[in-house]
Structures are given as structure tokens and as C-alpha cells.
């Protein structure tokens, strides 16, 4: 049995849909962290079957829009003195900036690079987004 001990002060991102943990890990640049971090993939979950978990032994800034975009069902627990002092409820963001990039080769974002890439939520259930410039619709993190 793999054992990862609890943390004293930091953040635990739990209930991440299995398979998306590595994307959260990479987005938060945790591979460059100089403190303890753990990425647990395919952990057993009674509710989800399988889930990913990230434990961060430090308090860092987290872009909740990004987490909500990847998996609004994930939970973020802020830990102090080994106890959860705050739970952050994630939401599918209505608007995201510089998180998704437009893949339409006809979009102006493919040739001009000095402005933010902005997407607006189209369908909360499908988690689809529309490029502000060309209206192309993308589903960056499909519901699994």
C-alpha cells in the first residue's frame, strides 16, 4: 500500500478526475517546487471510482479559474497545523484568460501575439468555450 503522510501547512487538491492530476501539477509548475509535493494518480474513491490528488506542503497562489476549468468537482483544502481550515468550492469559470489557446488557424490569435487569449463559457455541462475573437468552440477538458 502506497502511503503519503498528511501535511502540516499547505494545500490538498482532492477529487481531481483521474487523468487530469498531471495537468494541474504541470500548470502549477510543481515540478520546479523546492518544497514537498505529491501527485497521486488513480487513488481509490468510493464516489468516483478513481481520482487524482495533489498534496502541496506549502501555501501557494492558485488560479481557481484554471482548476474550475479542468475539474469543477475537485476540492481545494487549505491546511494549517495539520487541519483543514478552509475548503474552496470551485466553479466552472464564465471567462478565462490566457489559459486556453485558440487552435483555429484562421483566428487572429494565430498571427498576433501581444494580447490575452480570452474564452467565454458556452455550455456549463459540456464545459465548452468560445474564442472571443473568432467564435470557434472548444472543449479544453472534456467531462470524463
Amino acid at each position: 500500500m502506497l502511503e503519503i503522510t498528511s501535511i502540516e501547512k499547505g494545500i490538498v487538491i482532492d477529487h481531481i478526475t483521474a487523468g487530469y492530476g498531471i495537468q494541474v501539477f504541470n500548470y502549477l509548475n510543481l515540478d520546479k517546487a523546492d518544497y514537498n509535493v505529491a501527485l497521486i494518480c488513480n487513488a481509490y474513491s468510493q464516489k468516483m471510482g478513481k481520482k487524482d490528488i495533489i498534496k502541496i506542503n506549502n501555501v501557494i497562489d492558485i488560479n481557481y479559474d484554471f482548476l474550475g476549468l479542468i475539474d469543477p468537482n475537485a476540492t481545494v483544502n487549505i491546511i494549517e497545523d495539520g487541519k483543514t481550515i478552509k475548503k474552496v468550492k470551485l466553479e466552472v469559470p464564465d471567462r478565462v484568460e490566457n489559459i486556453i489557446r485558440c487552435k483555429n488557424p484562421r483566428c487572429v490569435t494565430s498571427v498576433e501575439h501581444y494580447f490575452p487569449h480570452v474564452f467565454h463559457l458556452v455550455d456549463k455541462e459540456k464545459r465548452s468555450y468560445r474564442c472571443e475573437y473568432c467564435d470557434d468552440i472548444v472543449v479544453p477538458y472534456p467531462v470524463k
Binding site: N104, P105, R106, C107, V108, T109, S110, V111, E112, Y114, F115, V122, R130, C131, E132, Y133, C134, D135, D136, I137
Partner: protein, 307 residues
């Protein structure tokens, strides 16, 4: 209040605001001389990064007929874009010289991007295969002059509905009106984009069909909006050649249409409407081009806050 606003997408203005523009357009048609000095001292910049005949000339003629003046370029190669200047910098510079600008660009979303960097009114004169809202103004003014209003009618769209920006803008606009129905006639490869079908048409509960034949549906239409298969939008020449002659409107097909079904086309035409149809009184595409100048006059007056 339309003063100092930009028109990039048909959803940028409310129905009431569009009504102001069309009402003024009808007034200009009735008495163009009354408006001949309205824009004295004002300058329109036409920034055309992609070739155009009707749209650029109608914008320029509109401003000249209002007593204003025009500056600009008609291809990217003759602007500082050829030196690598960004769209934002070009527009910020033009803003130093002009009071209002009309911009055409091959990349989708370029006018939206530009509008974030300037304060003067900007008009999208066509961006790639995306939107062309002033062609929609032209189309609507024409529809109103022919049939009184746009509501409770069945509109057929035929040809390249995937890259046809005039179709996207017109469908977006019409989707805000009661009783409209759409019949989309195209090869499967050139059907309307997902964002138009799902987010505009289906979301608003508008009845529509996607079909690949023209004749069986001609009798249902109040308007048939023909479009050209646009060579410049294809990355692959073979696909263009395979699809370009799929739908050609000729006298024989017109025989299936009702006596009150009008034919519109944003022009330019290649061969998708046979010239034998031009003399049919239901063919209204050249009148449509003329209306484009009047409605652009109205738009300029409104965005400059003169009327």
C-alpha cells in the same frame, strides 16, 4: 445611443439601435441630397487588408456622399503591415488621423482585437470567414424594402455556409426576430459552423433544416440567399474545385420558386447564379449592392453622432 460605438458583430447593437440605422437608411434613400453635407470636416479611414470592390467602394462613396473625406489602403502590402507592424499599432496610428474607420482583414477576430486598442468607432467590413455585419445591414434594408419587415419568413441560404461570413452575420441578426425559419442548403463539407448552428440557431429554438438539394425546398422560401464558394478560404485547391459548382441557380431552378421569392447575393458572383437569372424581377442582388451604400451612410452618421 450609437455615438462612438463600434460595429464588429451583429449582436453588438440592440434591435432598437438597428432600427434607428434602418430608419435613417430609408430616409436617405428618399432624399439623399438632404445629407450631402452632413459629414463635412470628417474623415473615414478604410483599412482593407484583403481585396474588396463593393464594400470598400460603398464605404468610400457613402462618406463622400455625406460630404466627408476618405483615407486608407486597399491591400496589406501597401500598408506598414508589410513591414511587420501589428494591427493594434496600425489602428492606434490611424486614430490620430481619422474620425471613424472601416476595417477588413483575412484573419477572424482582427476587428474585435483592433477595437480594444482604439477609442474611435470601428466598423468590421469583413473578417475572414467569420462575420460581415454591414453586409447584413445591406441585406436587411433590402428585405425591408421588398417585404416590409424581416419577421415570419423562411430564409434559404445556399452555397458556402461554412466560410460565408455574410451568412453567419445575417443568421445571427435574423435569429433575434420572431417567426423566422432557416433552410441551409450546402454540401456537407460547407455546412454552417457549430457556433452558428448550436449557439445561435438551436439555442434560440429557431426551426431549421440542413439539406443538400435546392429544388425540393425552393417553394418554401421567402428569400433565397445565394453565396459563392470562396477559393481564398480553402487551404486545399482540390476541395475548392470539387465543391465550387455544386449549386448553380438557373432559370430551371427558378421555376420551382414562388412568384414572391426574392433572390439575394452579397456579390461578387462567380457562376453560382447563372446570368440568365439577372433579368428575373425576383433577382435583387444589384439593388442590394446599391442599398449597401445608403445603409453605410446611415451607419456612419449614427456612429459619428451626427444623426
Amino acid at each position: 445611443m450609437l455615438k462612438n460605438r463600434s460595429l464588429i458583430d451583429p449582436n453588438d447593437f440592440t434591435r432598437e439601435e438597428f432600427r434607428e440605422i434602418f430608419d435613417l437608411g430609408h430616409q436617405i434613400i428618399a432624399d439623399p441630397a438632404k445629407f450631402s453635407k452632413s459629414c463635412e470636416g470628417k474623415i473615414l479611414a478604410t483599412l482593407f487588408y484583403e481585396p474588396s470592390t463593393r464594400t470598400r467602394l460603398s464605404f468610400e462613396t457613402a462618406m463622400l456622399r455625406l460630404g466627408g473625406q476618405v483615407i486608407g489602403f486597399s491591400e496589406a502590402a501597401s500598408s506598414s503591415t508589410a513591414k511587420g507592424e501589428s494591427i493594434a499599432d496600425t489602428l492606434r496610428t490611424v486614430e490620430c488621423y481619422a474620425d471613424i474607420a472601416a476595417m477588413r482583414h483575412p484573419k477572424e477576430g482582427a476587428p474585435r482585437l483592433a477595437s480594444h486598442y482604439i477609442h474611435m468607432p470601428l466598423i468590421n467590413a469583413g473578417d475572414g470567414g467569420h462575420q460581415h455585419p454591414t453586409q447584413t445591414l445591406t441585406d436587411i434594408l433590402t428585405i425591408e424594402r421588398l417585404r416590409g419587415n424581416v419577421e415570419n419568413k423562411t430564409y434559404g441560404f445556399c452555397g458556402d455556409l461554412k466560410f460565408g461570413r455574410t451568412v453567419h452575420s445575417l443568421v445571427k441578426f435574423l435569429s433575434n426576430y420572431e417567426g423566422v425559419k432557416f433552410i441551409f442548403i450546402s454540401p456537407e463539407e460547407l455546412r454552417v459552423p457549430e457556433y452558428i448552428r448550436e449557439e445561435v440557431v438551436r439555442k434560440k429554438g429557431i426551426p431549421f433544416q440542413e439539406v443538400d438539394q435546392m429544388e425540393p425546398y425552393m417553394g418554401q422560401l421567402d428569400f433565397l440567399y445565394m453565396t459563392r464558394v470562396q477559393r481564398e478560404r480553402f487551404f486545399n485547391e482540390e476541395d475548392y474545385i470539387r465543391l465550387k459548382d455544386r449549386f448553380i441557380l438557373d432559370k430551371e431552378k427558378m421555376s420551382y420558386a414562388r412568384p414572391d421569392t426574392y433572390i439575394l447575393h452579397p456579390l461578387p458572383r462567380v457562376n453560382e447564379i447563372s446570368t440568365e437569372v439577372d433579368d428575373d424581377p425576383r433577382a435583387q442582388y444589384f439593388q442590394q449592392a446599391k442599398n449597401g451604400m445608403y445603409v453605410r451612410m446611415a451607419l456612419i452618421l449614427k456612429l459619428l453622432g451626427i444623426y
